[in-house]
Each structure stands twice: as structure tokens, then as C-alpha cells.
């Protein structure tokens, strides 16, 4: 059940283009919208890999909620006022990104696909399967993650409410 190749390469090409646009656009709103497009394309990848649930959740949460908040903040804060380019950190960032990229390429070229991938069953990627593994095998990490998010929200409220 390997994904068909031509749609894969079309999607991958578009994904690389949009991801590059996130970095290279001058306008922050354009960058954010390119990120939305990239996240949408990643969701299409999940759907091609027989995981419609993960794909739809990707759109719902990342493209539909988190990026809207990003745009919301960008519109309110007018980041053109924050413009600042090519400080000392720019060079550190470039070097760090190059090192990370080199490491990733090394890892990816060193990986071999499993010789005989298990065939996807009919239930693979269905809400039932996802819920079953989430609430039995991985219930502790799942709950810890939700408590972490709760703590972050409470912390944000405390910081925002602090008297000057």
C-alpha cells in the first residue's frame, strides 16, 4: 500500500516551495499564510498515508486554530515596527541552521526503509484505533501532556493578570 508516486512528488514539491516561502517572505502575514498552506499540504500527506484522522486533526488544530491565533497576534501587534535585521545573532542562526540541516541529511540518507512494511489493516488510522492506543497504552503520557498544557494556560493567565 505504498502511496502513489506522482501525487507524492507534486505535493512534496509544493510543500518545499511553501516552506521556503515561510522563511524568505519579507512580509510577516505572507509568511504566516505560507505556513498555513504548508500545514495544509502536510495534512494531505497524512491522508495519502491512510491516516485521515491525523490529517483532519492537523487541519483542525494547526491550520484552523493555532495559525489563526498567530495571525490575530500579528495583526494586533503590527510587526513592521519590530523590524530588525542582520544582528550578530543572524550569523549564529545561519551556522546553527546549516549544522542542523547537515545532520538531518546525514540521518535521512543513512535510513533504510523496512524491507517488508506491514500492510495497513482496514482499521488503521481510524478514530477507534487511535482512541484505543491513546487511552490504554499511552494514557499516562497523554494525561501528562494535557496537564502540561493546563499549567501553561494558568501561567499565561497569572502573567497577564499581574498588577503593574
Amino acid at each position: 500500500m505504498a502511496p502513489p508516486l506522482i501525487p507524492f512528488f507534486v505535493l512534496a514539491f509544493l510543500l518545499v516551495i511553501t516552506s521556503l516561502m515561510v522563511v524568505f517572505q519579507r512580509n510577516v502575514v505572507h509568511s504566516a499564510l505560507s505556513l498555513v498552506a504548508a500545514l495544509f499540504l502536510i495534512a494531505l500527506f497524512f491522508i495519502m498515508l491512510h491516516a485521515p484522522m491525523v490529517g483532519v486533526l492537523q487541519i483542525l488544530i494547526y491550520a484552523g486554530a493555532i495559525m489563526v491565533l498567530f495571525l490575530f497576534v500579528i495583526m494586533l501587534l503590527n510587526p513592521a515596527a519590530l523590524e530588525q535585521r542582520r544582528g550578530v545573532w543572524w550569523w549564529f542562526g545561519t551556522v546553527a541552521a546549516l549544522i542542523l540541516g547537515g545532520l538531518l541529511v546525514a540521518v535521512m540518507t543513512g535510513t533504510e526503509p523496512p524491507p517488508d512494511p506491514a500492510a495497513a489493516t482496514a482499521l488503521f488510522g481510524s478514530p477507534e484505533m487511535l482512541a484505543k492506543s491513546l487511552f490504554t497504552d499511552f494514557v499516562l503520557p497523554f494525561e501528562i501532556a494535557s496537564i502540561l498544557l493546563l499549567v501553561a494556560i494558568v501561567g499565561a493567565v497569572v502573567l497577564a493578570k499581574r498588577e503593574p
Binding site: V29, A65, V68, P127
Partner: protein, 362 residues
Amino acid sequence: MIVDIGIIALKAFLVLFMVLNLAGILGWVERKGSALIQDRIGANRASIFGFAGMGLVNTLIADPLKFLTKEDFIPPAGDKFLHTLAPCMAFFPALVTFAVIPFGDVLVIGDRVINLQVANINVGILYIFAMASLGVYGIVIGAWASNNKFSLLGGVRGSAQMISYEVAMGLSVIGILMVYGTLELQEIARAQGELLWGWLPRWGVFLQPLAFLLFFVAAVAETKRIPFDLPEGESELVAGYHVEYSGGKFLMFFAGEFAEIVTAAGLITTLFFGGWQVPYLMRDGFHFPWGGVRLMHQWAVALLQVVAFTVKVVFFCWLQISLRWTVPRFRYDQVMRLGWKMMLPLALLNVAITAIVIIAVQ
């Protein structure tokens, strides 16, 4: 193979045809209906050889022609590309959502079983929420690309409002999912054909009345209509997020709003009012609880189901339209308080109570 693709294309065409035409007719209902409610005459100027057709000529022929032939103005300081993209993004979600809403049971032709639904995916409801959550971009991008303070304020209001009500909307549907135990809309519609105590259809509204109320209010808030039309509130923001739009692009925002109404009505029907179910109508005809059986041909049954679905959808469209001309607009703090402090806790309470009842019944 080709026949299958043809059938899917035909279903998609039929659904789009119905939604778009219903959206157009709703424009007429909005104008003439509001005139009726407010004791005015309403649109009656345009006519063809003296035939005005109760304002139909005006709203269905003259208005669109005028929209399409007007100058398409893009603010010089605005963002040209995004200004054009925004109406498309506002229009898109309302149309694709209808793909997973079933409008009938199955038709058996020869050895082919046709599901009367464009796309049956096992995460139907999540797909709907995913598409609905993309609807915000039309407003936000349009508001920002116009480079206008009023439209930006409208966009900020709109995005905050839609995110807030999506939460309550999603949580109110959890109760329905728990009762019927599936995310597939066709399965949910099918499960509502069973009977409770032998005579009451197991419709969502009888099992989850609170969820219905919450979902309905959240759906009205998501379509950004009065009492939740703060993003475009005329008396405060001129026209809010679409203040800089004219001609065809404004028509797209306008028609998108009506398409959203139709989609919301379709969802309410499917989740809470049995979808295409007619009470006591099984696949082979009526089976009345008091003993009568009236067998019917499967084409007659399918036709009845589609008609029932359409009637329910039209009813909820009309309810939403008449709501607009009945109640005044909220203040913005009231909108936020209603969403976060009343509807969200009630939706959570509904989920908890539903869980307790389900476990107690088992």
C-alpha cells in the same frame, strides 16, 4: 470505474446545485421576509416587461447583474493578491462541507449500492470542523489586505468570535458522538431511525436537547449574523471586514454567508433532526408503531427521504433568517461572556451528564 466516478460527479453536482440555488433564494427570502417582518414593501423596483415576481426579478436577476458589472476596486495601499484570495477562502469552506452531509439512505440499482452522500469518510464530523475552522481566514485575510482600520477591527473581532464559538460547538457535538458512537454522519443519520420506547424516533434533539440549543447558537455565531454580527456591525464599523470590497468579490462574501446558513441548517438537520429520516419510514416502506405496514418501492422511499431532508434544511434556513430580523445585536463583551462563561461550561456539563447516563443505562 468510470461509472463510479460519474455517479460521484453527479452527486457532487446535485449537492452544489442545491446549495448554491438555495443560497440565492435565501437572498430573496432575506429581503422580502425582512420587509414583511418590518411592515415594509421591500425590493420591487426591477421588472421584466412589468413582471416583478414578488421581488424575485430584483434579487435574483438585477442584483447579481449589478454586482458583476460594478467596478472591482482594490485599495491602492492594500495587498492585491490577498485582497483577491480572501473572498475565495470565505466561500470555499461552506461549499466543501456539504460533501459529507448525507441527503438520503442507499439506492440499489442492479448490484450497485449508491450511498446518497457525496463522500463517506470515517471522520465525517472532524472533517466538518476542520473546514469550518478554515472559514476564519477569509475574514482575517480580507480585513488585513484591505489596509483599513475599520475592516481590521472587524477582522480581529471576527477571528476572536469564531475561535471562541468553535470550542462550544465542538464540545456540544461530543454528546451526540457519545450517544451514537460514531463519527460518520451517514451512520448517525441511520441510527436516528430507531425508535425509543417503541414510538419516539431516536432523533438527536430528543436525546440531547441541551446540545441542540448550544449547537444552534454556536452555528448562528459562526455564520456571523445578528445577534452575532459584530465583525461587520454597520453602526460601529461601517461594514467591518468587507468594507473595502465591491462588485463580484463582495457578492462572494455575501453568497458565502448564505451558503454557510445552508450548511449550518444541513448540519443541524443531520445531527439533531434525523437527517433524511421520515418517522417510521424503513427501507421498504412505513412500519407504524400501532401496527400498520405500508410497503413502498425503493425509489419512492429515496425520494421521500431526500424531500424530507430538503424540507428540514429549508425550515432551519428560514429559522436563521427570521432570527436575524427578530433580535438586536449583542455588545462585544456580551458575545465573549456568552461564549466562554455560559456555553462552554454548559457544553462540558452536557458531556459529563451524557457520560453518566450512558454508563448508568449500561
